[in-house]
Symmetry: C2
Subunit: 216 residues, 2 copies
DNA sequence: CCTACCGATCGGTAGG
DNA sequence: CCTACCGATCGGTAGG
């Protein structure tokens, strides 16, 4: 058998993913060179290539590990909600808070996921999209539970995407160290969305009044 | 004096900006070459450089012309609201609909503005940011008018940014030609936001309970 | 407005 | 014969 990898291998690899996520988030995937990634990690470029096969693998690892953490988070909160017998409203509220916190702890990874997903290969992108769909579906089920009429109108997912829009966009304007923290904003987002959901007129939730227009 | 420019100069320039916006939106600014832009426009690379000085100017023109149109839109809707004596709620509702429509008509330009702003030079970025701040301030005034307590808590702008989050994010998941159009979503966004705003508990709007933490 | 190039830098890998 | 790297340079392509 081959000799085992050095004990610091996993740590070094984690450091590289974190530094690459930082650079990709600030400059974009295409706007960042492997030389910059290597320099940020304090290693030579050949050393960097010891830890990752190529630039695409770096992007794929950042996206896949991030979406995997989000999927786990959905499960953790669902287990809590089950144990505490929370209703759908409280469950959704807690899930929103958990996601804002998770995004705040992985801002760079999250920006890379949302902006550089297009640079993934088709196989990797499909894997990431599958994970994202699962997360969205978990939120959408809780939205449907509060507005069963929204599900009938197939609006649970669009409404969920509006919620994700508020959360995802926060990281473009909310500066760490500023007057408001993510923890300050999270309950505001939850109340605004859940309150707005309850206030939507039922008529609004039936877009099928408009016949589907043919695909072009 | 030099010979006047050909009559098609302005048209060709507009075509170039539109094609460049399309490519930048799909591949990112850094991920798009000037060769690709030239090919998409059906001209040689030297011909492309007849219409734009360099790649940065192309980006700056796309962003600055887009934000200028949005600023005009704020004015047009304000004039209408004045003429029709709309209250703040109706004014905001109409402004949201107008912005969703404007974004739908300039999806590529809007994505470039939101994602590639970081690649602007500092002078151009400052000009764009000034325009964005003016647009946000116009929305924030209408938000304040409906929740005067939000203004006191300095939350009018954060709440406005949540609204922009919903709208901006729409263009990442709403596919043209799909089941739902932007026109379908616009009133939903307006009702969700305005309804959620009204439903927010007053206690939520006083974050000054938390003393400001020092800048780091 | 073309072909033909430039200085530099890209992602990735050679030998030692 | 392995690993964990180094200085130098590969073939191609970027913006201009």
């Amino acid at each position: 058998m081959a000799r085992p990898r050095s004990s610091g291998y996993g740590d070094q690899r984690e450091l590289i993913l974190a530094q690459a996520a930082d650079l990709f988030a600030r400059q974009g995937y295409a706007g960042t060179s492997m030389n910059e990634v290597a320099a940020a990690c304090g290693v030579s470029k050949p050393a960097l290539y010891h830890y990752v096969r190529d630039k695409h693998e770096l992007l794929a690892l950042i996206c896949e590990e991030h979406i995997a953490r989000l999927r786990e988070l959905v499960q953790v909160v669902a287990t809590q909600a089950q144990a505490e017998a929370l209703d759908a409203r409280s469950h959704l509220h807690r899930l929103i808070l958990a996601f804002v916190e998770a995004y705040a702890d992985a801002q760079h990874e999250h920006r890379v996921l949302t902006e550089d997903e297009r640079h993934l290969g088709s196989a990797e992108r499909e894997r990431v999209l599958t994970g994202q769909r699962e997360v969205v579906a978990a939120f959408a089920r809780l939205v449907s539970a509060q507005r069963p009429d929204a599900l009938a109108g197939d609006l649970a997912k669009p409404l969920t995407m509006l919620l994700f829009g508020m959360i995802n966009w926060m990281f473009t304007w909310l500066r760490p160290g500023g007057r408001l923290s993510h923890a300050d904003m999270a309950p505001l987002v939850a109340e605004l969305f859940i309150g707005g959901l309850a206030a939507l007129p039922s008529a609004q939730l039936s877009p099928n009044d408009n016949p589907r227009r043919p695909q072009t």
